[in-house]
Amino acid sequence: MMSELVARRKVAVAKKAPKRKEKKPSSLWWMYTPSLVIVFLFILYPFLNGIQLSFTNWNGFSQSYDWVGFDQYKRMFTDPTTWLVVKNTLLYGMGSTILQNIIGLLYALLLNQSIRMKAITRTVIYLPVIISPLIMGYIWYFFFAYQGGALNDVLLFLGLEKINALANPEWNTWIIVFVNTYQYVGVAMIIYLAGLQSISKDYYEAAQIDGASALQQFKNITLPLLMPSITINMVLNIIGGLKLFDVIIALTGGGPGNASQSMSTFMYDLYFKRQDAGYAATQGVFMAVIILILSLAALVYFRRKEVEA
């Protein structure tokens, strides 16, 4: 039965073969197979396996574990730490996104003018992008540190009290947002600069003849035509900000307590410090869902504006 089917298929394929060659090109699938295998083994399979593990109480090292159904999910949604960590993650994601886009756009508008030596300004703003976020965290630690930090030197000089900004749970999350913004505002700036330079000068000339003010020109020409750049920046920054890890490790280690923990650092703690692998996997699934929803929402929202423009 089987062999008959195979034989019949072979005949069919053989009959079709010459025709197919003309009509349909071959897929050349072997050319992307190596890449596919690597991506499958190191991302896709572990990701799917992680969904599976989120239904277990695995501790991360023992050979056996129990299936616990939705227990880890129940635990996650009733764990107050989850909501603190989600709140922080959203602050890192949204806060950096908003700041990077506003400041990045302002920088791009400035550097789009004919200013002497603007290449130096651009280089300096972009330079942090190529430095490890971990090192960037340490560099800013020199600034905010309680003992001998640059900020406290200024405060002492002004006759004020020293502050321990990195240990203050109300400030340190904002400091992390600030450092992330400082580091990656250059990316937003470059993408906006490229967008600005692709807008034809004719629009502005026509608007000037009609007597449009600078603000009107910005609102009615620059902004709508910049929408593709805004979309890509928003999505890039949201994904980057929600995944924040290195800077937090460098500046606060997630502390004090869990005060500045993001979902990434919390997962790291759960797995390596608290031997709570099943729960870490549950947090991982939740994090992937949050990133997926927010980045897709941003993509759809801003793409729609592009069409309108």
């Binding site: 992307y32 572990p46 400082y182």
Partner: protein
């Protein structure tokens, strides 16, 4: 030029200088801290009274930075070469042959971009232990290649679609060249601009990688720069002069690369964003 135009120009130039100075502050603090002698507890804002390079040699030895440099270099180099060769090869049929199969896999590659690598961490760790790949170059290389492959394919496919004329390949086909021959002898050389961008961007990120390295390279002989630095910082928080010197040394290669090849960084970023 009118009077107000001139005034405006001066205002813009002043603003640019101000922004530049503000952005330089952290680097100024980093460099001056690294140059201060041991007993120099002056303000972070002050310039060192006596410039001393002792911190650099001491930090180099204490962190075993030479070893970490070699590890980081090997991982970065091999990952980048694999990314370029496998990524460009993968992008070619995905960009050129619009079959159902290829459309599906192209979509899959792009969709994978959204998965945050950390969310796959727990099971990945498991897998790596099972493969006996803990503390090996291979695990770091494959992790980085996997993490960057979707973006690499996306950029290559966009470039092939928009700039490589199909006629070239058809002509070569008539001459009887094999697919791989056509790809590596005719198409690949034309991909130079985007290859340069991908190479530089991926090198920077892989050199700076901390997330993967800290999980999979825990043996001190395998430490990369970021891992060595994190450990060093953990145990020397009150010797910031040394930390600053070590940080400066470890960021030097990429900074030099960036200053010389700046236009490729910026072009690559702009290309990715405009076409995305």
């Amino acid at each position: 030029m009118t009077y107000t135009d001139k005034k405006k120009k001066r205002l813009f130039a002043g603003l640019a200088i101000f922004i530049t100075l503000v952005h330089i502050i952290p680097f100024y603090i980093l460099i001056t801290t690294s140059l201060k002698a041991k007993g120099d507890f002056s303000s972070k804002w002050a310039f060192p009274e006596q410039i001393s390079f002792e911190n650099f040699s001491e930090a180099w030895e204490l962190t075993n930075l030479g070893n970490s440099f070699i590890n980081s270099a090997i991982i970065t180099l091999f990952s980048a070469v694999l990314l370029i060769v496998l990524g460009s090869m993968a992008a070619y049929p995905l960009a050129r042959r619009q079959t159902k199969l290829n459309k599906f896999f192209y979509f899959l590659f792009i969709a994978i971009m959204i998965i945050p690598p950390l969310t796959a961490l727990v099971p990945l760790y498991n897998l790596v232990v099972d493969f006996g790949m803990m503390n090996t170059y291979e695990v770091a290389i494959f992790n980085n290649v996997a993490a960057f492959m979707p973006l690499t394919i996306f950029l290559y496919a966009g470039f092939i679609r928009s700039t490589i004329p199909k006629e070239l390949e058809e002509a070569a086909k008539i001459d009887g060249a094999s697919t791989l021959g056509i790809f590596f002898r005719i198409v690949f050389p034309l991909l130079k601009p985007i290859t340069a961008s991908i190479l530089i961007i991926s090198c920077v990120y892989i050199w700076n990688d901390y997330q993967f390295a800290i999980f999979f390279l825990q043996d001190s002989a395998m430490h990369t720069l970021t891992v060595s630095l994190a450990n060093f910082f953990g145990s020397n928080q009150n010797k910031l002069n040394l930390v600053a010197a070590a940080a400066l040394m470890s960021m030097l290669p990429m900074t030099i690369l960036f200053l010389f090849l700046q236009k490729y960084f910026i072009k690559g970023l702009a290309a990715g964003s405009v076409k995305g």
